[in-house]
């Protein structure tokens, strides 16, 4: 009897423990997952409190104490369990601090956000609607509070360096802002309130009276399509969004990759690009381009362009390059072609897969001259032309070969062969004994020599989207590190730099994996076309590495600061 009683007691205790355990498990899960990433575009990272930053992707879940960062052209939309939605604009950093959501008691719920830099749009969920005092939003050194229950939809932007400049625009609800320069008591619907150093914040103005740059920045965030503001079960919503994003990404990749010719791997100073008949825009690292795009470098500008087949073009200062045609199909390299026209200035050209697989597909002009690559293997050469006069009758040029052999058909006659480590100069001569003007010749030679001194990516084929993203991430990391080095006592900058480096590392790995996957697809496709032979299985006949590996380029280490301080990945 005693044994039965004891057993009952033991079972009761065990049962209670089990119930508690299950409750604890479920409740901790409910507390743990604060929200999920709804949408990502461009470069964006997510960094949990005790982990490294990694690329953010739609469907990622996150907990409290997670930091999101976006690069140039980056944007991320996150949704919280209570329906709160944050859209983080470009070049921004947001830390989700504490987050508690109790579906049945809003007063027990709280959400704190810290916008360290950049801009975000905040749309309140259940917490902001029913318990506005439970929402705490820091923006730089300013504090934003929602003034009334019922929620709010507003944009806040801060740029902390060197002293905080910020603004807020409200689309719905009422907020107050305590800035380092004084309070803004009430910003209502359709109002804009700026703050800047050295003056008391003015009373809010209608948004329609805001400066053009503010209207555009806010307009971009207003135009973003947001998910519905209803509360969600984070895990299932994240799974759904992740699945949709994967399908969309695959569709986008399948549709866009064939059109893209390459991406900007590095830029220094002023470099602009013009797509087809469109307007001219600054060429940022990671920007992709198609055939028909022209690049212009300023007097101190430099750019490194990498093409899908691995071909690399380094543009020197004061240069104009047009990519007239470009087509690369790794499954059909014989149909691939590349036609580039250096209108003026200097470029270093490193061949890629098209040159090795389809020599005839390469067509290079430089000013009024035509460059012909004589070797079928890899080549690396620099050509500089000064042909600014409209008739191109006075062209002065130089070609220097680092690898392979080329011929140049100049307006003054052909140079039948320039071998490795040789240079040739051409220019107008009245008679064969006339020297080429020394000053001009010296300038083009100096430009050619400068172009040789750059560290470059390898010339293996790439998956454009991921490689472009990796280049952009690396550029962001370089910038963040430079900023952190300039302010060694600033822990926040150091943390941001470390996060940027982690992200760059992760995106580079992803880019390598994508390139390898692409190469594997090529191998599979080739295997599918090979007839069975008596010599054995088709796979045995395929060389170990059918996609040509990186060319062993002997290049000097980049001189720090040479070329005006590259902001690119490897400058």
């Amino acid at each position: 009897m005693i044994a039965i009683t004891r057993m009952r007691k033991t079972l009761s205790v065990l049962g209670a423990c089990s119930v508690l355990f299950v409750c604890a498990t479920f409740s901790s899960a409910a507390w743990a997952q604060a929200g999920y990433v709804h949408e990502v575009s461009g470069l964006a990272s997510i960094q949990p409190a005790s982990d490294k930053a990694r690329p953010a992707k739609a469907g990622d879940t996150f907990e409290a104490d997670t930091t999101f960062r976006t690069g140039v052209d980056g944007k991320v939309i996150v949704k919280f369990a209570d329906g709160q939605v944050i859209t983080l604009g470009e070049s921004s950093a947001l830390r989700v601090g504490t987050y508690r959501y109790a579906a049945n008691d809003a007063r027990q719920s709280a959400s704190s956000l810290d916008l360290m830099k950049g801009e975000m749009r905040y749309v309140a969920g259940i917490i902001g609607t029913a318990n506005n005092e439970g929402v705490r939003i820091l923006a730089g050194e300013s504090m934003v509070s929602i003034q009334k229950p019922g929620g709010a939809d507003f944009i806040v932007s801060v740029h902390p360096d060197p002293k905080e400049i910020g603004f807020t625009v409200v689309a719905f609800g009422e907020i107050a802002v305590r800035t380092p320069y004084g309070p803004v008591h009430r910003v209502a619907n359709d109002e804009y309130a700026p703050w800047r150093p050295g003056r008391t914040p003015p009373e809010p103005l209608p948004f329609a009276a805001a400066p053009a740059v503010v209207q555009a920045a806010a307009g971009e965030l207003w135009a973003t399509v947001l998910p519905p503001g209803a509360p969600v079960t984070v895990a299932s919503a994240a799974r759904t969004i992740g699945a949709i994003a994967a399908v969309t990404q695959a569709e986008v990749a399948a549709k866009t990759d064939p059109r893209l010719a390459g991406y900007v791997d590095a830029v220094a100073n002023t470099v602009t690009m013009q797509r087809g008949s469109g307007g001219s825009a600054a060429a940022n690292v990671g920007a992709t381009f198609e055939a028909g795009t022209s690049f212009n470098t300023g007097a101190d500008g430099r750019a490194v362009l990498k093409f899908t087949d691995g071909q690399i073009v380094v543009l020197g200062p004061g240069s104009t390059l047009t990519i007239d045609q470009y087509q690369f199909d790794p499954n059909n390299t014989k149909a691939s072609k590349s036609v580039v026209d250096l209108v003026n200035g200097g470029m270093r050209y490193i061949t890629g897969n098209i040159q090795t697989e389809n020599h005839e597909g390469i067509n290079i002009t430089a000013g009024a001259s035509i460059v012909d690559i004589l070797t079928t293997g890899p080549a690396d050469f620099t050509v500089v032309v000064n042909s600014k006069d409209p008739d191109k009758q006075q062209e002065i040029g130089v070609a220097r070969v680092s690898l392979g052999e080329i011929a140049v058909f100049t307006p003054y006659g052909p140079i039948s062969k320039i071998e490795t480590d040789r240079s040739n100069l051409w220019g107008p001569k009245k008679s064969p004994t006339d020297p080429i003007p020394v000053a001009s010749a010296l300038a083009v030679v100096q430009a050619a020599v400068a172009l040789q001194q750059a560290e470059l990516p390898d010339n293996s084929p790439v998956a454009i989207a991921s490689a472009a993203l990796a280049a952009a991430a690396q550029a962001e990391a370089n910038k963040a590190q430079a900023l952190a080095n300039a302010n060694p006592e600033n822990a926040q900058l150091r943390a941001a730099a470390q996060a940027a480096v982690d992200l760059a590392s992760a995106t580079t790995q992803a880019a390598t994996a994508a390139a390898e996957a692409s190469a594997a697809n090529v191998i599979s496709a080739m295997l599918g076309t090979l007839p069975p032979t008596a010599a054995g299985a088709a796979v045995a006949q395929i060389p170990a590495s059918p996609v040509p590996g990186p060319v062993a380029l002997v290049v000097p280490t980049a001189t720090p600061g040479a070329g005006g301080g590259c902001t690119g990945s490897r400058c």
Partner: protein, 275 residues
């Protein structure tokens, strides 16, 4: 027939030539030269008229394209400021017509003004700050160029002030533009609205005279333009200005009463009654 001089024959070679005949011939030649000059002048005038006419026609066509567009609220919560927003196609077509007009007369102020207005419209649909800044700068340049041809146009001065507001340049040029716009177009409803809109945005930079001019503009606006003027003042929470004008009483009465009541409660700014 014999009396009429042959154009190719000089008086020296003409048989039986005399002073009287030579004297008779010279005026005829002068007359012919004058006719020719007149003809050339008329032809040039006709060409110029045709050019101006065509330029004007293109401006009118472009204006019709813009007028066809409807007023919309561009952003959520922006219903208070519906903007007559030409669609992308309307902007493109109107730009094409304005460009054609400028081809005929490079400094046509109406075309320049139209292009500037389209630039401001483009600013409102820009999605990058850089682009917005570029088009607003272009608008400012075009208004400045147009003002060189029509310095007495209040619309141009008002638009110049607006473009400078969007460029965040509350400087002397903006204040001058406001002064001229108000002085040259005191009874133009759109000028009144723009002057009030820009003036209230830059209120802290205005001198006493310009502030007084703004209040007078608000008073004048009450006659033909009351609702819109009130909406603008309300959007800046400037009930102190509008409630002091009796002509606004019927539309601003409730808002003024509410604002006054909250002002007594000791929270003038929180509730919108700005001192």
């Amino acid at each position: 027939m014999a009396d009429s001089p042959t154009p190719n024959r000089s008086p020296r070679t003409a048989p039986g030539s005399g002073a009287a005949r030579a004297g008779h011939r010279t005026p005829t030649r002068w007359r012919q030269a004058a006719y020719a000059a007149l003809f050339v002048l008329l032809a040039l005038t006709a060409v110029q008229c045709a050019r101006l006419g065509l330029a004007g026609l293109f401006v009118q066509t472009a204006q019709r394209e813009i007028d066809r567009s409807t007023a919309v609220a561009l952003y959520p919560g922006m219903a208070a400021f519906p903007v007559r927003m030409p669609g992308t196609r309307a902007i493109r077509d109107a730009t094409h017509y304005f460009s054609n007009s400028l081809e005929y007369t490079a400094d046509n102020p109406w075309a320049l003004e139209g292009m500037g207005t389209l630039n401001l419209a483009s600013m409102r649909i820009s999605r990058t700050p850089r682009q917005a800044l570029d088009v607003t700068r272009t608008a400012r340049l075009r208004f400045r160029q147009a003002l060189q041809q029509r310095p007495t146009s209040p619309f141009l001065w008002a638009n110049l002030a607006l473009s400078k507001l969007y460029l965040d340049e509350p400087d002397e040029e903006l204040l001058t533009a406001l002064r001229y716009a108000d002085a040259l177009g005191p009874w133009e409803p759109s000028v009144q609205q723009t002057v009030l809109f820009v003036g209230l945005a830059t209120w802290q930079s205005l001198d006493a005279e310009l502030r007084a001019a703004l209040v007078r503009s608000l008073e004048r606006g009450a006659l033909r333009n009351r609702q819109k003027m009130f909406e603008i003042a309300k959007s800046y929470r400037r009930f102190d200005l509008v409630c002091a004008i009796r002509k606004y009483e019927d539309i601003a009465g409730p808002a003024c009463a509410k604002a006054a009541a909250t002002a007594v409660s000791g929270e003038p700014i929180r509730q919108g009654f700005r001192r």
